[in-house]
Symmetry: C2
Subunit: 476 residues, 2 copies
């Protein structure tokens, strides 16, 4: 190809505004965009060369395909129902001095501000300490026993701290008979799960134990049980993605629980307080959606050869995953700070790294995986409705299947992408899309924002390596 003789070589290139092709490095892309440069972002990442052999070994494992199919069937055939409320002690067996927390295992020493704050709140609530300072010293002396919620058939949003006398939702998976548990949602602002421990936080926890829990338990006993799959299904047709947006699900919950609450013969003023409390919190249903997902995922555990993720969870320091074919082992990496919008005067400097078990929603094909059902969510990060569609579409590339019950209206009722396959994540470089709340990094602060977060790809790659170690060779 020869240059036009009338134009010096490359002379035409800079006469027009530059158009730049970027690949992978988003900060570069957004900086260019901020400068008004036309940017074409290409979804390209370096090939997973360093795990090519391990990917091949897993692909050749004769058990993998069937095991992943079984995992998908187990996850999608779940019938999660809310059946009661019980104490954390009865639900999980924890005793005084024992505490559950979100994410993979961690010690007080490595715990971030909000997790320490939530543990302080729980110690005050349990009467183990009179002051936050005293509680902190108990923590520092190592006089409390920490264990992940996930290892006790439970999940906890944000810090996810559970102590023995807290009331918990009991969710039963009718298809498999297993149960999952979660504490009750405390509402917004200064709350334990975001690491706050002010007197109002403890007072609210006591009211939840003495009034809210018994009322809801009476309601659900009257009702028999509540079909959570049906609520999630409807809420997805009503703009919820069931992680950062639970407005429809919470409204449907109120609608269903009020008549039995009325018939359960509770005191009128308590009942009004209970309904007002639930109404004041568009995330009330999150603490039912999470154990619903947990109850669906647990039956997909321990399938030899399966590369399907059965838990993604963060403790505020580490992001961890568990994979069906590798048992209870956690694969962990550093938790990132979410990219989002901040409340009031808070900013990114106030943000703690990613925290909470609420990524169980994404693990179960909800949350970031069904953003297309909830375009309002992308406003949290200044995005557009089309970004929500793109996010969901890209999740199909790392999922083993589609959820027959959880459908996305705008995608012609296509089932949600479900069953994260670590081999697909490692091969494509596409990590799960995760929506999340943002906790303040200083203990006692509370929520500072909400947004999106990028899981560390190395945890998926490490899981592939572990699967490869366990892989059976194909029959020859």
């Amino acid at each position: 190809m020869s240059a036009d003789p009338a134009t010096p070589p490359l002379g035409g290139l800079l006469e027009q505004p530059p158009s730049v092709v970027t690949a992978g490095v988003e900060l570069f892309e957004s900086t260019l965009r901020d400068q008004g440069v036309d940017v074409i972002a290409v979804d390209w990442r370096p090939p997973a060369d360093d795990v090519a052999a391990e990917l091949a070994a897993v692909a050749a494992d004769p058990r993998t395909e069937a095991a992943n199919r079984t995992a998908l069937e187990h996850i999608t055939s779940a019938e999660p129902r809310w059946t009661g409320i019980t104490s954390a002690h009865d639900a999980t067996g924890i005793e005084r001095g024992q505490f559950l927390h979100a994410g993979p295992p961690i010690t007080w020493e490595r715990a971030s501000g909000p997790l320490r704050g939530a543990l302080i709140a729980a110690m005050l609530y349990e009467g183990m300490a009179e002051t936050p300072e005293e509680a902190e010293r108990i923590g520092e002396r190592g006089e409390l026993e920490l264990s992940p919620c996930h290892e006790h058939a439970s999940v906890g949003p944000m810090a996810g701290v559970v102590s023995p006398s807290m009331p918990m939702f009991v969710v039963e998976n009718g298809a498999f008979g297993n149960t999952a548990h979660c504490t009750l949602n405390e509402g917004l602002g200064k709350v334990l799960r975001y690491g706050a421990y002010a007197p109002e936080v403890i007072e609210r926890l006591r009211w939840m134990d003495q009034v809210l829990g018994p009322a809801l338990n009476a309601g659900v006993r009257q009702l028999g049980s509540m079909d959570l799959r049906a609520i999630i299904q409807q809420a997805m047709q009503m703009g919820d993605e069931l992680h950062n947006r639970n407005r429809a699900a919470s409204a449907l919950f109120v609608r269903e629980i009020v008549p039995p609450l009325l018939e359960a013969g509770l005191e009128g003023s308590d009942l009004a307080d209970v309904v007002r409390f639930i109404n004041g919190n568009d995330h009330f249903f999150l603490n039912l959606g999470m154990p619903a997902a947990k109850s669906a995922l647990d039956p997909a555990r321990d399938l030899p050869g399966s590369s399907v993720v059965v838990a993604m969870a963060r403790n505020g320091t580490d992001f961890g995953i568990q994979v069906s074919g590798t048992g209870d082992r956690w694969f962990t990496g550093p938790a990132a700070v979410p990219d989002g919008l901040y409340l009031g005067d808070y900013g990114a400097d106030d943000a703690n790294p990613d925290i909470g078990d609420s990524t169980i929603t994404e693990t179960g094909g909800l949350g970031g995986f069904v953003m297309a059902a909830a375009p309002a969510i992308v406003r949290f990060v200044g995005g557009q409705a089309s970004d929500a569609l793109d996010a969901t579409r890209s999740m199909y590339s790392i999922a083993v299947g589609e959820h027959p019950h959880y459908q996305i209206p705008i995608l012609e009722f296509r089932g949600s992408p479900v069953g994260i396959d670590v081999t697909r994540v490692a091969r494509t470089g596409t990590v799960p899309a995760v929506n999340t709340g943002i906790a303040g990094k200083v203990a006692g602060t509370g929520q500072v924002g909400a947004g999106l977060v990028t899981p560390p790809i190395e945890v998926f790659v490490d899981a592939v390596r572990a699967l490869a170690d366990l892989a059976e060779a194909p029959a020859t």
Copy 2:
């Protein structure tokens, strides 16, 4: 252009599957599609040649542009609030023997089955007749006085029959001080508004008068008032289009009314019945959304020169519209049978022509105009989510503006198309998209389905002619 000498003339044409371009005639298009033919539908209609002079006269009227701007401002600045429940007599001034109905004026003789059935139900309810036969004779003897709801600051879904002792919602437009009224929604199945008059229908109406109405009135008094604009706004982000889908709005309504109901000191079992009744009906909010739209549109009436539609309504025989610049005059044409899905064994042969004032939602920029917010709706007619987007997009071409409060998430929160301009309808041939329920044509049947309906274009053309007659000539 010469034919390829190697091919006989037209020889290549039929070697490939035919691809047909259709224009306007949908039945032809769908028949071809059913035969697997590739059809390119073009949105082309004959130009409105026969009203070209009238369109020019209205366009030249120096008042029209400003009047339409004022109409839009009045409609979109409305602040509809539910403030109470009162009897139809107190709300509208009707006395024993007087009945309101949906749509433009009509007589018993011309009334369709469901309208007659609803009038029979109302006569039984008011104690004017002991049996349906006796009521029918009263109708035939012309011993009842009929008047459109719209002429009494009211709207009624389907048959829209209102008798003096029925309870009605009172909706106040805070921005203009006007009020609008609507009866309470009876639920699904055999109900007066669909023309049923069995004993269960009358019994339910009595319970609504004696229990439901007083309870809701006590609740709203306790609350002060309920912001309907806020509910509609939220519901549009939750998959409702506020005509054929009111699930989110009804859930939000329950959420908001239950705490004040609890505090109003009602009997517990009545309260449970009330909540169960509302919960059992995803369309409960329709009867609040309709007067909300009516209260917003009435202040746009009587603006000289304005070509904006202030009411679209059907009485089961005629489809009628009223236009701001032509006062209280109705422009009417034949009501079409909706195209939809039928309940149980019912089919198109059982369907009554289009009926009800619920097209006030479309007139106010909701319903069919915001189908893009409610893709689940198109399943009623076997359509796809993309059809919902297309329906809304095409409504912008006949609307004078966009509603700043009613936004459509998937269209990047664009305001809903609002303010139907009869000149744009006549010029483009695009008629308003209308969602609707379908009543059985035999009196006493009830609902037989739900779907979409096409308004007769001649009513818009007639309105253009009337505006042209009234048009001022431009200053010379």
